[in-house]
Amino acid sequence: MSPETQGRRTPGADLPDHPDRLWRPAEPKRAYDVVIVGGGGHGLATAYYLAKNHGITDVAVLERGWLAGGNMARNTTIIRSNYLWDESAGIYEHALKLWEGLEEDLGYPLLFSQRGVLNLAHSLQDVRDSVRRVNANRLNGVDAEWLTPEQVKEVCPIVDISPDVRYPVLGGTYQPRAGIAKHDYVAWGFAKAASDLGVDMIEHCEVTGLDVRDGRVTGVRTTRGAIAAGKVALAAAGHSSVVAGYAGVSLPVQSHPLQALVSELLEPVHPTVVMSNAVHVYVSQAHKGELVMGAGIDAANSYRQRGAFHIIERQMSAALELFPVFARAHVLRTWGGVVDVTPDASPIVGLTPVENLYVNCGWGTGGFKATPGVGWCYAHTVATGEPHPLNAPFSLDRFTTGKLVDEHGAAAVAH
Protein backbone atom coordinates (compact mmCIF):
# COMPACT_ATOMS: atom_id res chain seq x y z
CA MET A 1 0.00 0.00 0.00
CA SER A 2 1.39 3.37 -0.97
CA PRO A 3 1.43 6.47 1.25
CA GLU A 4 -1.34 8.04 -0.82
CA THR A 5 -3.73 5.15 -0.29
CA GLN A 6 -3.09 5.19 3.43
CA GLY A 7 -4.62 8.61 3.74
CA ARG A 8 -7.90 7.62 2.10
CA ARG A 9 -11.10 7.48 4.01
CA THR A 10 -12.67 4.25 5.15
CA PRO A 11 -16.09 4.41 3.55
CA GLY A 12 -17.49 1.54 5.57
CA ALA A 13 -16.96 3.33 8.85
CA ASP A 14 -19.79 5.82 8.28
CA LEU A 15 -22.77 3.57 8.87
CA PRO A 16 -24.42 3.67 12.26
CA ASP A 17 -24.49 0.41 14.17
CA HIS A 18 -27.64 -1.43 14.99
CA PRO A 19 -28.60 -1.36 18.66
CA ASP A 20 -27.45 -4.03 21.08
CA ARG A 21 -30.98 -5.35 21.48
CA LEU A 22 -33.52 -5.78 18.71
CA TRP A 23 -36.88 -7.44 19.04
CA ARG A 24 -37.79 -9.99 21.65
CA PRO A 25 -38.21 -13.40 19.99
CA ALA A 26 -41.50 -14.85 21.15
CA GLU A 27 -43.25 -18.21 21.27
CA PRO A 28 -46.81 -18.16 19.97
CA LYS A 29 -49.53 -17.80 22.60
CA ARG A 30 -52.85 -19.56 22.14
CA ALA A 31 -54.77 -16.40 21.37
CA TYR A 32 -54.27 -12.77 20.43
CA ASP A 33 -56.54 -9.82 19.91
CA VAL A 34 -54.91 -9.28 16.54
CA VAL A 35 -52.81 -11.62 14.46
CA ILE A 36 -50.86 -10.04 11.61
CA VAL A 37 -49.94 -12.48 8.87
CA GLY A 38 -46.62 -11.44 7.40
CA GLY A 39 -43.61 -10.01 9.21
CA GLY A 40 -42.47 -7.69 6.48
CA GLY A 41 -42.30 -3.93 6.65
CA HIS A 42 -46.05 -3.45 6.34
CA GLY A 43 -46.88 -6.07 8.95
CA LEU A 44 -44.35 -4.66 11.38
CA ALA A 45 -45.42 -1.06 10.85
CA THR A 46 -49.05 -2.08 11.32
CA ALA A 47 -48.17 -3.80 14.58
CA TYR A 48 -46.30 -0.73 15.77
CA TYR A 49 -49.14 1.69 15.02
CA LEU A 50 -51.76 -0.69 16.46
CA ALA A 51 -49.83 -0.56 19.70
CA LYS A 52 -48.82 3.08 19.61
CA ASN A 53 -51.88 4.79 18.10
CA HIS A 54 -54.61 2.45 19.29
CA GLY A 55 -53.24 0.88 22.44
CA ILE A 56 -53.72 -2.61 21.03
CA THR A 57 -50.72 -4.59 22.17
CA ASP A 58 -52.01 -8.14 22.35
CA VAL A 59 -50.71 -8.62 18.83
CA ALA A 60 -48.68 -11.31 17.14
CA VAL A 61 -46.75 -10.82 13.91
CA LEU A 62 -46.40 -14.20 12.21
CA GLU A 63 -43.57 -14.62 9.74
CA ARG A 64 -43.05 -17.81 7.77
CA GLY A 65 -39.30 -17.23 7.40
CA TRP A 66 -37.03 -14.76 9.09
CA LEU A 67 -38.46 -11.40 10.00
CA ALA A 68 -38.56 -8.91 7.12
CA GLY A 69 -36.91 -11.44 4.83
CA GLY A 70 -39.32 -11.09 1.93
CA ASN A 71 -39.74 -8.02 -0.22
CA MET A 72 -38.67 -5.81 2.68
CA ALA A 73 -35.20 -7.27 2.35
CA ARG A 74 -35.22 -7.18 -1.44
CA ASN A 75 -36.44 -3.78 -2.57
CA THR A 76 -34.47 -0.83 -3.88
CA THR A 77 -35.58 1.44 -0.98
CA ILE A 78 -36.90 4.33 -3.05
CA ILE A 79 -39.18 6.68 -1.16
CA ARG A 80 -41.30 9.27 -2.94
CA SER A 81 -44.86 10.55 -2.97
CA ASN A 82 -45.13 12.11 -6.42
CA TYR A 83 -48.03 9.95 -7.61
CA LEU A 84 -50.57 11.19 -10.11
CA TRP A 85 -53.96 10.60 -8.60
CA ASP A 86 -55.28 12.36 -5.50
CA GLU A 87 -55.97 9.05 -3.78
CA SER A 88 -52.38 7.89 -4.25
CA ALA A 89 -50.85 11.22 -3.35
CA GLY A 90 -52.88 11.13 -0.13
CA ILE A 91 -51.49 7.89 1.23
CA TYR A 92 -47.95 8.23 -0.13
CA GLU A 93 -47.60 11.81 1.08
CA HIS A 94 -48.86 10.75 4.48
CA ALA A 95 -46.15 8.10 4.42
CA LEU A 96 -43.49 10.61 3.39
CA LYS A 97 -44.44 12.95 6.22
CA LEU A 98 -44.12 10.03 8.64
CA TRP A 99 -40.74 9.11 7.12
CA GLU A 100 -39.59 12.63 7.91
CA GLY A 101 -40.03 12.03 11.63
CA LEU A 102 -39.56 8.30 11.75
CA GLU A 103 -35.97 8.03 12.99
CA GLU A 104 -36.93 10.08 16.02
CA ASP A 105 -40.22 8.28 16.51
CA LEU A 106 -38.67 4.82 16.40
CA GLY A 107 -35.40 5.82 18.02
CA TYR A 108 -33.55 3.96 15.30
CA PRO A 109 -31.15 5.26 12.65
CA LEU A 110 -32.87 4.58 9.32
CA LEU A 111 -30.36 6.27 7.01
CA PHE A 112 -33.30 8.17 5.56
CA SER A 113 -31.69 10.38 2.97
CA GLN A 114 -33.84 12.98 1.20
CA ARG A 115 -31.65 13.16 -1.85
CA GLY A 116 -34.53 13.70 -4.27
CA VAL A 117 -35.96 11.62 -7.08
CA LEU A 118 -35.80 12.44 -10.77
CA ASN A 119 -38.35 10.85 -13.11
CA LEU A 120 -37.11 11.33 -16.66
CA ALA A 121 -39.20 12.00 -19.74
CA HIS A 122 -38.12 10.72 -23.15
CA SER A 123 -41.02 11.53 -25.47
CA LEU A 124 -43.38 14.43 -25.94
CA GLN A 125 -46.12 12.36 -24.32
CA ASP A 126 -43.80 11.62 -21.39
CA VAL A 127 -43.38 15.37 -21.04
CA ARG A 128 -47.13 15.99 -21.02
CA ASP A 129 -47.69 13.21 -18.50
CA SER A 130 -44.87 14.48 -16.32
CA VAL A 131 -46.07 18.08 -16.29
CA ARG A 132 -49.56 16.85 -15.51
CA ARG A 133 -48.18 14.89 -12.58
CA VAL A 134 -46.10 17.82 -11.30
CA ASN A 135 -49.18 20.04 -11.35
CA ALA A 136 -51.30 17.39 -9.67
CA ASN A 137 -48.61 16.95 -7.03
CA ARG A 138 -48.46 20.65 -6.26
CA LEU A 139 -52.21 20.92 -5.82
CA ASN A 140 -51.93 18.00 -3.43
CA GLY A 141 -49.17 19.68 -1.44
CA VAL A 142 -46.51 17.34 -2.74
CA ASP A 143 -43.24 19.02 -3.64
CA ALA A 144 -42.59 18.66 -7.35
CA GLU A 145 -40.79 20.48 -10.11
CA TRP A 146 -40.44 20.09 -13.85
CA LEU A 147 -36.81 20.27 -14.92
CA THR A 148 -35.32 20.92 -18.34
CA PRO A 149 -32.61 18.51 -19.53
CA GLU A 150 -29.97 21.02 -18.42
CA GLN A 151 -31.53 21.21 -14.97
CA VAL A 152 -31.65 17.41 -14.85
CA LYS A 153 -27.93 17.46 -15.53
CA GLU A 154 -27.38 19.92 -12.69
CA VAL A 155 -29.14 17.63 -10.25
CA CYS A 156 -27.46 14.49 -11.56
CA PRO A 157 -24.34 15.29 -13.60
CA ILE A 158 -23.80 11.72 -14.82
CA VAL A 159 -27.07 11.50 -16.75
CA ASP A 160 -26.42 11.60 -20.49
CA ILE A 161 -28.68 14.32 -21.86
CA SER A 162 -27.10 14.35 -25.30
CA PRO A 163 -29.27 13.83 -28.39
CA ASP A 164 -27.23 10.71 -29.30
CA VAL A 165 -29.21 8.62 -26.87
CA ARG A 166 -31.84 6.49 -28.62
CA TYR A 167 -34.55 8.17 -26.54
CA PRO A 168 -33.01 11.48 -25.44
CA VAL A 169 -33.87 13.02 -22.10
CA LEU A 170 -36.46 15.73 -22.74
CA GLY A 171 -36.67 16.74 -19.10
CA GLY A 172 -37.75 15.27 -15.83
CA THR A 173 -39.80 15.72 -12.73
CA TYR A 174 -38.01 16.24 -9.47
CA GLN A 175 -39.25 15.66 -5.96
CA PRO A 176 -36.60 17.03 -3.59
CA ARG A 177 -38.09 15.48 -0.45
CA ALA A 178 -37.95 11.99 -1.93
CA GLY A 179 -35.01 9.70 -1.32
CA ILE A 180 -33.91 6.38 0.08
CA ALA A 181 -33.59 4.66 3.44
CA LYS A 182 -31.92 1.48 4.62
CA HIS A 183 -34.52 -1.24 4.43
CA ASP A 184 -33.25 -3.54 7.17
CA TYR A 185 -32.92 -0.62 9.55
CA VAL A 186 -36.51 0.36 8.84
CA ALA A 187 -37.85 -3.14 9.39
CA TRP A 188 -35.85 -3.64 12.51
CA GLY A 189 -36.75 -0.20 13.80
CA PHE A 190 -40.44 -1.04 13.57
CA ALA A 191 -39.88 -4.55 14.95
CA LYS A 192 -37.94 -3.30 17.94
CA ALA A 193 -40.39 -0.50 18.68
CA ALA A 194 -43.39 -2.81 18.37
CA SER A 195 -41.69 -5.47 20.43
CA ASP A 196 -40.90 -2.89 23.12
CA LEU A 197 -44.62 -2.05 23.21
CA GLY A 198 -45.49 -5.71 23.78
CA VAL A 199 -46.07 -7.13 20.31
CA ASP A 200 -44.92 -10.73 19.81
CA MET A 201 -42.60 -11.38 16.87
CA ILE A 202 -42.96 -15.01 15.86
CA GLU A 203 -40.59 -16.22 13.16
CA HIS A 204 -40.61 -19.47 11.20
CA CYS A 205 -44.34 -19.68 11.71
CA GLU A 206 -46.15 -20.18 8.41
CA VAL A 207 -49.89 -19.69 8.25
CA THR A 208 -51.47 -22.78 6.69
CA GLY A 209 -55.13 -21.99 7.21
CA LEU A 210 -57.66 -19.45 8.44
CA ASP A 211 -60.57 -20.45 10.69
CA VAL A 212 -63.79 -18.86 9.54
CA ARG A 213 -67.04 -19.40 11.40
CA ASP A 214 -70.34 -17.82 10.35
CA GLY A 215 -68.59 -15.47 7.99
CA ARG A 216 -66.16 -14.35 10.62
CA VAL A 217 -62.51 -15.16 11.10
CA THR A 218 -61.64 -16.65 14.47
CA GLY A 219 -58.04 -17.70 14.18
CA VAL A 220 -55.15 -18.97 12.14
CA ARG A 221 -53.60 -22.39 11.62
CA THR A 222 -49.84 -22.34 11.52
CA THR A 223 -46.87 -24.65 11.31
CA ARG A 224 -46.51 -23.91 15.01
CA GLY A 225 -50.08 -24.71 15.95
CA ALA A 226 -53.47 -23.02 15.92
CA ILE A 227 -53.75 -19.48 17.22
CA ALA A 228 -57.09 -17.88 18.03
CA ALA A 229 -57.49 -14.29 16.93
CA GLY A 230 -60.06 -11.57 17.41
CA LYS A 231 -58.94 -10.02 14.15
CA VAL A 232 -56.61 -11.15 11.42
CA ALA A 233 -54.72 -8.67 9.29
CA LEU A 234 -53.09 -10.00 6.13
CA ALA A 235 -49.83 -8.40 5.04
CA ALA A 236 -48.38 -11.21 2.98
CA ALA A 237 -47.36 -9.36 -0.21
CA GLY A 238 -46.66 -11.87 -2.99
CA HIS A 239 -48.35 -14.65 -1.04
CA SER A 240 -51.56 -12.73 -0.40
CA SER A 241 -53.62 -14.79 -2.85
CA VAL A 242 -52.57 -18.00 -1.15
CA VAL A 243 -53.31 -16.77 2.36
CA ALA A 244 -56.58 -15.01 1.51
CA GLY A 245 -57.62 -18.17 -0.29
CA TYR A 246 -57.63 -19.97 3.06
CA ALA A 247 -60.68 -17.89 3.94
CA GLY A 248 -62.24 -18.26 0.51
CA VAL A 249 -61.44 -14.67 -0.39
CA SER A 250 -60.16 -14.13 -3.90
CA LEU A 251 -58.08 -11.11 -4.72
CA PRO A 252 -57.46 -9.46 -8.08
CA VAL A 253 -53.71 -9.81 -7.76
CA GLN A 254 -51.09 -11.76 -9.65
CA SER A 255 -47.67 -12.68 -8.28
CA HIS A 256 -44.59 -12.00 -10.37
CA PRO A 257 -40.84 -12.08 -9.76
CA LEU A 258 -39.14 -8.71 -9.59
CA GLN A 259 -35.36 -8.48 -9.67
CA ALA A 260 -32.84 -6.01 -8.41
CA LEU A 261 -29.09 -5.84 -8.32
CA VAL A 262 -26.14 -4.04 -6.76
CA SER A 263 -22.70 -3.14 -7.99
CA GLU A 264 -19.49 -3.14 -6.05
CA LEU A 265 -18.82 -0.20 -3.75
CA LEU A 266 -17.94 2.88 -5.75
CA GLU A 267 -16.80 6.36 -4.92
CA PRO A 268 -19.80 8.72 -4.91
CA VAL A 269 -20.97 9.56 -8.43
CA HIS A 270 -24.74 9.57 -8.17
CA PRO A 271 -26.22 12.10 -5.77
CA THR A 272 -29.92 11.43 -6.24
CA VAL A 273 -32.35 8.76 -7.42
CA VAL A 274 -33.12 8.51 -11.12
CA MET A 275 -36.08 6.69 -12.57
CA SER A 276 -37.09 6.35 -16.17
CA ASN A 277 -40.07 4.55 -17.57
CA ALA A 278 -39.34 4.64 -21.29
CA VAL A 279 -35.71 3.65 -20.85
CA HIS A 280 -36.48 1.35 -18.00
CA VAL A 281 -34.09 2.27 -15.21
CA TYR A 282 -34.25 3.14 -11.58
CA VAL A 283 -31.01 3.61 -9.78
CA SER A 284 -29.52 5.17 -6.70
CA GLN A 285 -26.17 4.92 -4.97
CA ALA A 286 -26.53 3.58 -1.48
CA HIS A 287 -24.71 4.78 1.58
CA LYS A 288 -21.67 2.53 1.30
CA GLY A 289 -21.29 3.33 -2.38
CA GLU A 290 -22.98 0.50 -4.23
CA LEU A 291 -25.27 1.27 -7.14
CA VAL A 292 -28.69 -0.16 -6.40
CA MET A 293 -30.80 -0.83 -9.41
CA GLY A 294 -34.16 -2.37 -10.06
CA ALA A 295 -35.12 -4.37 -13.11
CA GLY A 296 -38.52 -4.99 -14.64
CA ILE A 297 -40.90 -7.69 -13.52
CA ASP A 298 -41.03 -11.06 -15.22
CA ALA A 299 -44.11 -11.33 -17.41
CA ALA A 300 -45.24 -14.71 -16.14
CA ASN A 301 -46.70 -15.46 -12.73
CA SER A 302 -44.24 -17.14 -10.43
CA TYR A 303 -43.58 -17.59 -6.76
CA ARG A 304 -39.90 -18.25 -7.36
CA GLN A 305 -37.89 -15.49 -5.78
CA ARG A 306 -35.80 -15.43 -8.88
CA GLY A 307 -36.29 -13.78 -12.25
CA ALA A 308 -35.04 -14.47 -15.74
CA PHE A 309 -31.65 -13.20 -16.81
CA HIS A 310 -32.68 -11.44 -20.00
CA ILE A 311 -34.52 -8.97 -17.80
CA ILE A 312 -31.20 -8.09 -16.17
CA GLU A 313 -29.49 -7.75 -19.54
CA ARG A 314 -32.18 -5.33 -20.72
CA GLN A 315 -31.80 -3.43 -17.51
CA MET A 316 -28.09 -3.01 -18.13
CA SER A 317 -28.53 -1.73 -21.66
CA ALA A 318 -31.06 0.77 -20.38
CA ALA A 319 -28.74 1.83 -17.57
CA LEU A 320 -25.86 2.47 -19.95
CA GLU A 321 -28.09 4.49 -22.26
CA LEU A 322 -28.61 7.01 -19.51
CA PHE A 323 -25.41 6.50 -17.53
CA PRO A 324 -22.53 5.63 -19.90
CA VAL A 325 -20.20 6.16 -16.95
CA PHE A 326 -21.47 2.88 -15.46
CA ALA A 327 -19.95 0.80 -18.28
CA ARG A 328 -17.22 -0.82 -16.24
CA ALA A 329 -19.06 -1.04 -12.97
CA HIS A 330 -19.77 -4.65 -12.08
CA VAL A 331 -22.90 -6.46 -11.08
CA LEU A 332 -22.05 -8.01 -7.77
CA ARG A 333 -25.32 -9.60 -6.80
CA THR A 334 -28.78 -10.01 -8.27
CA TRP A 335 -31.83 -11.19 -6.42
CA GLY A 336 -35.56 -11.46 -6.80
CA GLY A 337 -38.70 -10.99 -4.79
CA VAL A 338 -42.31 -11.90 -5.49
CA VAL A 339 -44.57 -8.91 -5.99
CA ASP A 340 -48.34 -8.88 -6.06
CA VAL A 341 -49.67 -6.77 -8.89
CA THR A 342 -53.21 -5.41 -9.23
CA PRO A 343 -55.05 -4.47 -12.43
CA ASP A 344 -54.70 -0.74 -11.73
CA ALA A 345 -51.22 -0.75 -10.18
CA SER A 346 -52.66 0.51 -6.91
CA PRO A 347 -52.87 -1.40 -3.63
CA ILE A 348 -55.81 -3.02 -1.90
CA VAL A 349 -56.12 -1.99 1.74
CA GLY A 350 -59.26 -2.55 3.73
CA LEU A 351 -62.06 -4.88 4.62
CA THR A 352 -62.83 -8.25 3.11
CA PRO A 353 -66.11 -10.15 2.76
CA VAL A 354 -65.08 -12.06 5.89
CA GLU A 355 -65.74 -10.20 9.10
CA ASN A 356 -62.64 -9.24 11.11
CA LEU A 357 -60.38 -10.30 8.28
CA TYR A 358 -58.50 -7.41 6.70
CA VAL A 359 -56.34 -7.26 3.65
CA ASN A 360 -53.34 -5.20 2.68
CA CYS A 361 -51.80 -6.27 -0.61
CA GLY A 362 -51.25 -5.37 -4.22
CA TRP A 363 -48.43 -2.91 -3.65
CA GLY A 364 -46.68 -4.38 -6.65
CA THR A 365 -43.25 -2.97 -7.11
CA GLY A 366 -43.65 0.00 -4.79
CA GLY A 367 -44.63 -1.00 -1.26
CA PHE A 368 -41.50 0.02 0.63
CA LYS A 369 -42.08 3.75 0.37
CA ALA A 370 -45.56 3.38 1.82
CA THR A 371 -44.42 1.42 4.87
CA PRO A 372 -45.17 3.92 7.65
CA GLY A 373 -48.19 5.37 5.85
CA VAL A 374 -49.90 2.08 5.21
CA GLY A 375 -48.97 0.81 8.67
CA TRP A 376 -50.70 3.85 10.13
CA CYS A 377 -53.84 3.53 8.00
CA TYR A 378 -54.07 -0.24 8.12
CA ALA A 379 -53.74 -0.18 11.91
CA HIS A 380 -56.62 2.30 11.98
CA THR A 381 -58.68 0.02 9.73
CA VAL A 382 -58.01 -3.03 11.89
CA ALA A 383 -58.52 -1.20 15.17
CA THR A 384 -61.76 0.53 14.23
CA GLY A 385 -63.18 -1.86 11.66
CA GLU A 386 -63.50 1.06 9.25
CA PRO A 387 -61.03 2.16 6.60
CA HIS A 388 -58.98 5.23 7.34
CA PRO A 389 -59.98 7.99 4.89
CA LEU A 390 -56.60 7.65 3.19
CA ASN A 391 -57.01 3.97 2.41
CA ALA A 392 -60.76 4.05 1.76
CA PRO A 393 -60.24 4.59 -1.99
CA PHE A 394 -58.17 1.42 -2.11
CA SER A 395 -61.03 -0.88 -1.25
CA LEU A 396 -61.57 -4.26 -2.82
CA ASP A 397 -64.96 -3.22 -4.19
CA ARG A 398 -63.46 -0.62 -6.52
CA PHE A 399 -63.02 -3.43 -9.01
CA THR A 400 -66.79 -3.89 -9.03
CA THR A 401 -67.72 -0.23 -9.29
CA GLY A 402 -64.95 0.50 -11.74
CA LYS A 403 -63.54 3.32 -9.60
CA LEU A 404 -59.95 2.25 -10.17
CA VAL A 405 -56.94 4.32 -9.23
CA ASP A 406 -55.03 3.69 -12.41
CA GLU A 407 -51.38 4.53 -11.84
CA HIS A 408 -50.13 2.66 -14.91
CA GLY A 409 -49.88 5.35 -17.48
CA ALA A 410 -48.97 8.55 -15.87
CA ALA A 411 -47.05 7.76 -12.72
CA ALA A 412 -43.74 7.13 -14.48
CA VAL A 413 -42.13 3.98 -13.14
CA ALA A 414 -44.36 2.46 -10.52
CA HIS A 415 -41.61 1.71 -8.01
Binding site: V242, L251, S302, H310, D340
Partner: protein, 92 residues
Protein backbone atom coordinates in the same frame (compact mmCIF):
# COMPACT_ATOMS: atom_id res chain seq x y z
CA UNK B 1 -35.35 -17.71 -19.35
CA UNK B 2 -37.77 -20.59 -19.59
CA UNK B 3 -37.56 -23.02 -22.47
CA UNK B 4 -41.14 -23.16 -23.69
CA UNK B 5 -42.20 -25.97 -26.03
CA UNK B 6 -44.39 -24.23 -28.59
CA UNK B 7 -46.77 -26.87 -29.97
CA UNK B 8 -46.05 -25.63 -33.51
CA UNK B 9 -42.40 -24.56 -33.44
CA UNK B 10 -40.79 -26.66 -30.75
CA UNK B 11 -38.79 -25.48 -27.74
CA UNK B 12 -37.93 -21.78 -27.82
CA UNK B 13 -36.64 -19.16 -25.38
CA UNK B 14 -39.20 -17.43 -23.20
CA UNK B 15 -38.21 -14.07 -24.71
CA UNK B 16 -39.98 -15.10 -27.95
CA UNK B 17 -43.31 -15.40 -26.18
CA UNK B 18 -45.97 -13.13 -24.79
CA UNK B 19 -47.68 -14.11 -21.58
CA UNK B 20 -51.46 -14.22 -21.40
CA UNK B 21 -52.28 -15.13 -17.82
CA UNK B 22 -54.80 -17.70 -16.70
CA UNK B 23 -56.22 -20.02 -19.33
CA UNK B 24 -59.83 -21.23 -19.65
CA UNK B 25 -61.44 -17.88 -18.84
CA UNK B 26 -64.24 -17.68 -21.36
CA UNK B 27 -65.79 -14.40 -22.43
CA UNK B 28 -69.25 -14.46 -20.88
CA UNK B 29 -72.09 -15.53 -23.17
CA UNK B 30 -74.20 -12.57 -22.28
CA UNK B 31 -72.33 -9.85 -20.43
CA UNK B 32 -75.44 -7.72 -20.18
CA UNK B 33 -77.03 -10.37 -18.00
CA UNK B 34 -74.22 -10.31 -15.44
CA UNK B 35 -74.29 -8.39 -12.20
CA UNK B 36 -71.53 -5.85 -11.62
CA UNK B 37 -69.87 -8.34 -9.26
CA UNK B 38 -69.92 -11.08 -11.88
CA UNK B 39 -68.61 -8.74 -14.54
CA UNK B 40 -65.85 -7.56 -12.19
CA UNK B 41 -64.83 -11.20 -11.67
CA UNK B 42 -64.49 -11.64 -15.40
CA UNK B 43 -62.58 -8.39 -15.84
CA UNK B 44 -60.17 -8.44 -12.95
CA UNK B 45 -60.08 -11.63 -10.91
CA UNK B 46 -57.74 -14.42 -11.95
CA UNK B 47 -56.41 -17.40 -10.06
CA UNK B 48 -52.94 -16.94 -8.65
CA UNK B 49 -51.98 -20.34 -7.28
CA UNK B 50 -48.63 -21.35 -5.90
CA UNK B 51 -48.35 -24.62 -7.78
CA UNK B 52 -49.64 -25.94 -11.09
CA UNK B 53 -51.30 -23.21 -13.13
CA UNK B 54 -52.98 -23.45 -16.52
CA UNK B 55 -51.91 -20.35 -18.39
CA UNK B 56 -51.81 -18.90 -21.88
CA UNK B 57 -48.78 -18.04 -23.96
CA UNK B 58 -48.48 -16.66 -27.46
CA UNK B 59 -45.44 -17.30 -29.62
CA UNK B 60 -45.32 -13.68 -30.74
CA UNK B 61 -41.81 -13.83 -32.24
CA UNK B 62 -42.54 -17.12 -33.97
CA UNK B 63 -45.77 -18.62 -35.26
CA UNK B 64 -47.91 -16.08 -33.37
CA UNK B 65 -50.19 -18.83 -32.14
CA UNK B 66 -51.75 -18.89 -28.70
CA UNK B 67 -51.56 -22.09 -26.69
CA UNK B 68 -51.88 -23.27 -23.14
CA UNK B 69 -49.30 -24.45 -20.65
CA UNK B 70 -49.56 -26.06 -17.24
CA UNK B 71 -46.62 -24.71 -15.29
CA UNK B 72 -45.82 -24.97 -11.61
CA UNK B 73 -45.43 -21.41 -10.34
CA UNK B 74 -43.44 -22.62 -7.36
CA UNK B 75 -40.74 -24.29 -9.48
CA UNK B 76 -41.33 -22.98 -13.02
CA UNK B 77 -41.47 -26.56 -14.28
CA UNK B 78 -43.69 -27.02 -17.31
CA UNK B 79 -45.92 -30.05 -16.94
CA UNK B 80 -47.98 -29.88 -20.09
CA UNK B 81 -48.47 -27.89 -23.27
CA UNK B 82 -51.71 -28.06 -25.23
CA UNK B 83 -53.64 -26.20 -27.85
CA UNK B 84 -56.39 -23.67 -27.32
CA UNK B 85 -59.72 -25.40 -27.08
CA UNK B 86 -58.30 -28.59 -25.67
CA UNK B 87 -59.14 -29.44 -22.08
CA UNK B 88 -56.53 -29.04 -19.41
CA UNK B 89 -54.60 -32.30 -19.27
CA UNK B 90 -54.27 -34.17 -16.02
CA UNK B 91 -50.80 -33.56 -14.65
CA UNK B 92 -49.01 -34.93 -11.65
Amino acid sequence: MLLIPCPWCGPRDEAEFHYGGQAHIAYPDNPAALSDEEWARYLFFRDNPKGPFAERWSHTAGCRRWFNVVRDTATNEIHAVYRVGEPRPVTA
